[in-house]
């Protein structure tokens, strides 16, 4: 049995239960239990209609739970309400779940956890492992999130932008535990793109595909980070790149540019270059200008300074950097890179060491420390001979 197939049915089945009168929290619990039972039972006896099986089992679990904690009369009312089995408005149900799980009343962490469980069909344990917290903590985070959205009407239209932010957070968490969150984010975004025609959903999907395509080349055999310019481009996944570019092009022709489309366009330009030297940096600078206009995010201007440094030389890059707040994350790393290109290894080494001290994660810190060490270890004979 393919677990992905099973998990893909999760939001549909929750939708059916909610339509039959279960509240979201109880429906979600019941479906989670049904999924666990399916994992146990299906390898020996795969049902012909997996969705029907899940609906039947989940509904029974739901009724048992109701029997356990409320009056018998309420249960009978629910049984009477049960409609004849048949296809419902499945697509809409799933879409509603995306909106509910990304509801603005939830904190980002809660929205992520709830989305992974109710839309993604992951178990609490898997989510806890992926985020390196105890299972009990994750269980509480999810049940609190469910209480938070308990009053939200299921058929309320939501904001696509909030859903995209949640999916992007999941994607960026990357690869930990036994669940590949990047791949899971792609699956959920692909599913969303199939249900709703929206240029930024497509933009985000394209962005994810283009980044994921580079994943095999991003880390060396010892786990070290390999910067874009040094990656073995033969290891990039051309199939994912082709799909990402196609999705992006279809979005761009609609002429409603957004943040994710612009980011994807930059990723596509990198993917398009057979060698780092062939990168079309001038066009990348233009896209960063678009992105800065769309978001006003100062981090975008920092990345733009790198692109300017490549397009017009390190001096121009340093000039672009000059107007920015040195407190921005990765400012020192960008400065170090530009100073080295500008032929000033002493300043570059100092800025790399500084960047390492403020790095947000271990692989990045190790990479920056190695850069500083490389520059500090360079031959000093030139200076000794009085060449400088």
């Amino acid at each position: 049995m393919d677990e992905a197939v099973l998990r893909a049915l999760t939001p549909t089945v929750i939708g059916v239960l909610v339509r039959r009168g279960a509240d979201f929290a109880a429906a979600e619990d019941a479906v989670q239990e049904a999924l666990i039972e399916a994992v146990r039972a299906w390898p020996d006896d795969q049902p012909r209609d997996p969705e029907g099986w899940l609906v039947t089992v989940a509904w029974r679990k739901f009724l048992n739970a109701v029997r356990a904690d409320t009056s018998r009369r309420h249960r009978e009312e629910l049984i009477e309400r049960e409609p004849a089995p048949g296809p419902g408005e499945v697509a809409d149900d799933t879409l509603q779940l995306y909106f509910l799980c990304a509801h603005p009343s939830l904190t980002p962490a809660s929205a992520v956890a709830l989305t992974l469980r109710a839309v993604g069909g992951l178990t609490t344990r898997q989510i806890a492992q992926a985020y390196l917290v105890p299972e009990a903590t994750m269980a509480q985070r999810i049940s609190r999130a469910k209480r938070t959205v308990a009053g939200v009407r299921f058929n309320q239209a939501g904001d696509v932008a909030t859903v995209l932010r949640v999916l992007y957070l999941v994607f960026n968490e990357g690869y930990s535990g036994d669940v590949d969150l990047a791949a899971e984010a792609i699956r959920l975004t692909r599913q969303l793109a199939a249900k709703i025609s929206h240029e930024e959903v497509a933009g985000l999907l394209a962005l994810m595909l283009l980044h994921h395509a580079r994943h095999p080349a991003r880390t060396g055999p010892d786990g070290r980070l390999v910067p874009l310019a040094e990656q073995d481009r033969g290891r990039w996944n051309t199939q994912l790149i082709a799909e990402g570019v196609a999705v992006l092009q279809a979005a761009l022709v609609r002429d409603r540019l957004g943040e994710f489309q612009a980011q994807a366009a930059i990723a596509a330009l990198h993917a398009d270059a057979r060698t780092a030297a062939e990168t079309d940096w001038a066009q990348i600078v233009e896209w960063y200008d678009e992105l800065a206009r769309l978001t006003g995010n100062p981090v975008v201007r920092l990345n733009r300074a790198v692109a300017v440094g490549e397009a017009d030389g390190p001096r121009a890059g340093l000039a672009a950097l000059a107007g920015l707040d040195p407190a921005l994350p990765r400012y020192a790393a960008v400065a170090a890179y530009l100073h080295e290109r500008d032929g000033d290894p002493v300043t570059a080494a100092r800025r790399y060491a500084e960047a390492a001290r403020s790095a947000p994660n271990l692989p990045e810190r190790d990479h920056l420390t190695r850069q500083a060490a490389r520059l500090n270890a360079r031959p000093r004979s030139g200076a000794a001979a009085g060449n400088r």
């Binding site: 009990a136 962005l207 991003r218 271990l362």
Partner: protein, 135 residues
């Protein structure tokens, strides 16, 4: 989401406002303090923000490698001047501001006279184990 370490010291932190050693509190005050810490941990779990908490003995030693085929060198007990960690909590929260808020609440644990200790806690961000997926 980000993880933070809330670090408690036996020694080495600046003096708290309510600076009376624990062995000079009344037994009820000691119990009230312990209950506060337990409730705090339970509440964090309920909020989905708890990761871990441990207390450390003040005993211990310095240890170092002393070369091939030789046993490690030890040096102890710790000198009175050593910065001495008493224990920690690890939390998983949405923001730095939330970490500061929780540390502030933990520092309000009651001590002598049932009054908050106002203990100084060290708040340290974890380095993430993985780089972000986007470059």
């Amino acid at each position: 989401m980000a993880k933070y370490l809330l670090l408690k010291h036996y020694r080495g932190a600046p003096a708290p406002v309510n600076d009376v050693p624990m062995d000079q509190w009344t037994p009820e005050e000691v119990s009230a303090h312990i209950k506060y810490m337990q409730d705090f941990g339970a509440r964090l779990e309920g909020l989905g923000e708890w990761v871990d908490g441990q207390a450390l003995s003040p005993e211990g030693a310095w240890v170092r490698y002393d070369g091939e085929g030789r046993p490690p060198v030890t040096d102890g007990p710790f000198a009175e001047t050593k910065d001495l960690i008493a224990g920690w909590m690890v939390i998983d929260v949405d923001s730095y501001e939330r970490a500061i808020e929780l540390a502030g609440e933990l520092s309000a644990a009651p001590g002598a006279g049932g009054k908050p200790i106002h203990e100084w806690l060290e708040v340290r961000p974890f380095l993430a184990a993985h780089p972000t997926t986007t470059e």
